[in-house]
């Protein structure tokens, strides 16, 4: 058997909304497919990625609003458009950004009686999600004047951001002619973390018969919490000191966590297969350098009550305003605590059904390097993919129909149609071309909006440049 050395460079810009990588899932062009399913059928005998260049991945997006909605050059006042957008969005709409940088990625097939494909590596990840705080956006934009009696719900405030490094090591094994399975253990090293996801309570300005003043401004059942990790010790430091500390944390010097991925491929027959994976089941245990802010209580504000006391000449007046501030602080105390907390990772689930058809791929004289599994690869594959990611307000789902076609061993094309919270008309396409040792790879999402990116709720573009050395 020929030795296959997969040496790849991946660079460029990729803008992908959500962490869903439907174009890369089960598309055996890059070793990244193994990251999305540790139980996928592995193509290579071994692979190594160029440090820091093997995968650069940037995501940004929002559900429910596009840049065009707000910035269209249509003569309408931008403030009118922002107002319309605020009322169009719901508190379940969200803004996300994800960035990943593969620092190291490698894998090798341990041969022998019982071959196992081991893989490992390090990647850095920034993950951010903020739900649209609709009630407070209305309050900031319009004030409370036209909303007397309306409760402004603090549970609308929900956001989370993590900057971390992930060290991972996994094993992939073909268990039978039909089943391939894999697991990966992950060690998370947090650089900084911030979350505020379980807030509750409401603020209402109301009018009531028999009240002391014109209105009653009430805060009911307030319970706010903001958890931070890693920020306290950075306070007041200059840029170079911050960089040095963050680098130390990236190298397992931060708060640590543990997680795992698992996945499988089941080949029903030579044409039909099922794949499934679960990624990032785990948590980060923030125990040091944490600061947790809590505010809770109930309070009704009805202004300042003057009592016109009899004052001796030169006597001091009653400090009504200071008393009011003290009373608010007493009724709604804000505590700053240095306590540890556990933060669950956003778990993702992929599942898909694949059907191979058409003539068989390839030149019989060349190595069929993807033949560790028993199935013979055919030029066409179609299927349906399911993806979900568990976010603070529950799972976000996506469904994908796809078709993949191989043109010999050099060109592979995959097209996807995805329905998710961002769009119901998301068409994507990916192409991969091998020219000798060099592999070009491009994947784009939301092609229908490509003619005007501003109109897209989400835009996805991935470029790849893989250098493959085929050792013989």
């Amino acid at each position: 058997m020929k030795k296959f050395f997969f040496f790849y460079i991946f660079f460029g810009v990729s803008v992908v909304v959500s962490q869903n990588k439907q174009l890369l899932y089960n598309w055996d062009v890059t070793p990244q497919a193994l990251m999305l399913n540790p139980g996928s059928v592995v193509a290579s005998q071994y692979h190594i990625g160029v440090p820091f260049l093997s995968q650069i991945h940037l995501n940004a997006g929002s559900s429910g609003v596009s840049a065009f909605d707000v910035f269209a050059d249509d003569g309408v006042d931008i403030n009118t458009k922002i107002r319309n957008t605020i009322f169009k969005l719901s508190a379940r709409d969200f803004f996300t950004a994800t960035q990943q940088l593969d620092v190291l990625n490698f894998g090798w097939l341990s041969k022998g009686f019982d071959p196992i494909y081991f893989s490992g590596g390090i990647y850095q990840e920034l993950d951010f999600i903020a739900y649209f705080p609709k009630d407070f956006a209305i309050l900031a934009w319009e004030g409370n004047r036209d909303y007397i009696g309306k409760p402004f719900d603090f549970s609308d405030l929900s956001a989370r951001a993590d900057l971390l490094t992930v060290y991972h090591f996994g094993a992939n094994k073909q268990l039978s002619s039909k089943l391939t399975a894999g697991v990966r253990i992950k060690l998370y090293s947090s650089m900084v973390g911030l979350e505020s996801t379980s807030n509750k309570g409401a603020f209402t300005t109301s009018q009531r018969e028999g009240s002391n003043n014109v209105y009653e401004h009430t805060v009911v059942d307030l319970d706010l919490e903001v958890r931070t990790s890693g920020f306290l010790s950075l306070d007041g430091l200059d840029q170079s000191q911050v960089s040095r500390i963050l680098l130390g944390r990236a190298l397992l010097g931060g708060n640590l966590g543990l997680g795992f991925d698992a996945g499988m491929t089941y080949q029903f027959d030579s044409q039909l297969s099922l794949t499934a994976s679960v990624l990032d089941i785990g948590a980060i245990f923030h125990s040091s350098d944490t600061e947790v802010y809590r505010a809770s209580g109930d309070y009704t504000l009805d202004g300042l009550q003057l009592i016109f006391p009899e004052l001796a000449l030169g006597g001091s007046t009653i400090p009504y305003y200071d008393n009011l501030e003290d009373e608010i602080e007493r009724e709604i105390p804000v505590d700053t605590l240095n306590i540890g907390y556990t933060q669950l990772r956003p778990t993702k689930i992929n599942a898909a059904l694949h059907y191979d058809f058409g003539p068989r791929v390839g030149d019989k004289d060349s190595c069929d390097c993807r033949s560790r599994a028993t199935k013979e690869e055919r030029v066409s594959q179609a299927g349906v993919q399911y993806y979900t990611i568990f976010r603070p307000r529950g799972p976000q789902l996506a469904g994908t129909l796809y078709y993949r076609r191989k043109f010999g061993n050099s060109l592979s094309v995959k097209t996807t149609y995805t329905v998710d919270r961002y769009s119901a008309k998301n068409i994507g396409a990916a192409m991969s071309l091998n020219l000798g040792n060099v592999n070009f790879f491009v994947a784009a999402d939301n092609l229908l909006d490509l003619s005007n990116i501003a109109k897209a709720n989400s835009v996805s573009l991935q470029l790849g440049f893989n250098f493959i050395v085929d050792q013989q």
Partner: protein, 183 residues
């Protein structure tokens, strides 16, 4: 064959880039973003008993009652920059059979008067309390005076009083703040 495929690949790849652009957008509009919240907030309230206008121990009338409170949120450059208009609504309910002269004197830290509001309150009685409402609208020119104050002195003056005077003078008040916040 391979070259053909490569050409196809590069053509499609390039096409995608040439097709993609931000069309019909003007990001300069961000400079025009202006938040204009209108905020309703209670101000002060009181209930003055008629008996407070008479000192039984000295058998003398008390013709003026005064009280002072800080309004720290009013003073300061921050509020001055964003506050464009303020409407003060005062609603008196009078069950004392006397008219009143009520004034609100907004003072700065040096106790200089920066804004002055005065109103006459119609007399009432305990079976038919009389409501007197007045609205003081402070426009953009006068806002600077208001926001240079950080406390208000409230004076309630009665023409005459007696030991037998009964009833209550009640005040409820609120302010509507019209803010304009740009970048």
């Amino acid at each position: 064959m391979l070259v053909k495929k490569a050409k196809l690949f590069i053509s499609l790849f390039s096409l995608m880039f040439f097709l993609s652009c931000f069309e019909g957008t003007d990001f300069e509009q961000a400079n025009d973003v202006l938040l204009t919240p209108e905020i309703e907030l209670d101000l002060i309230y009181f209930n003055i008993e008629a008996s407070q206008f008479y000192n039984p121990s000295t058998s003398t009338e008390i013709l003026v009652l005064k009280d002072t409170t800080d309004l720290d949120f009013l003073g300061g450059r921050d509020i001055n920059n964003i506050l464009k208009k303020a409407d003060f609504l005062f609603q008196f309910t009078n069950s004392i059979p006397r008219e009143f002269d009520v004034s609100f004197d907004f003072l700065n830290t040096q106790n200089q008067s920066k804004y002055f509001i005065q109103s006459n309150i119609v007399s009432g009685n305990q079976t038919n309390p009389v409501v007197t409402t007045f609205l003081e609208e402070i426009d953009e020119q006068e806002i600077t005076d208001l926001t240079s104050a950080n406390k208000v002195v409230i004076s309630v003056a009665i023409a005459s009083s007696s030991q037998n005077l009964t009833g209550v003078l009640n005040l409820q008040s609120k302010t509507t703040y019209y803010l304009e916040i740009d970048q």
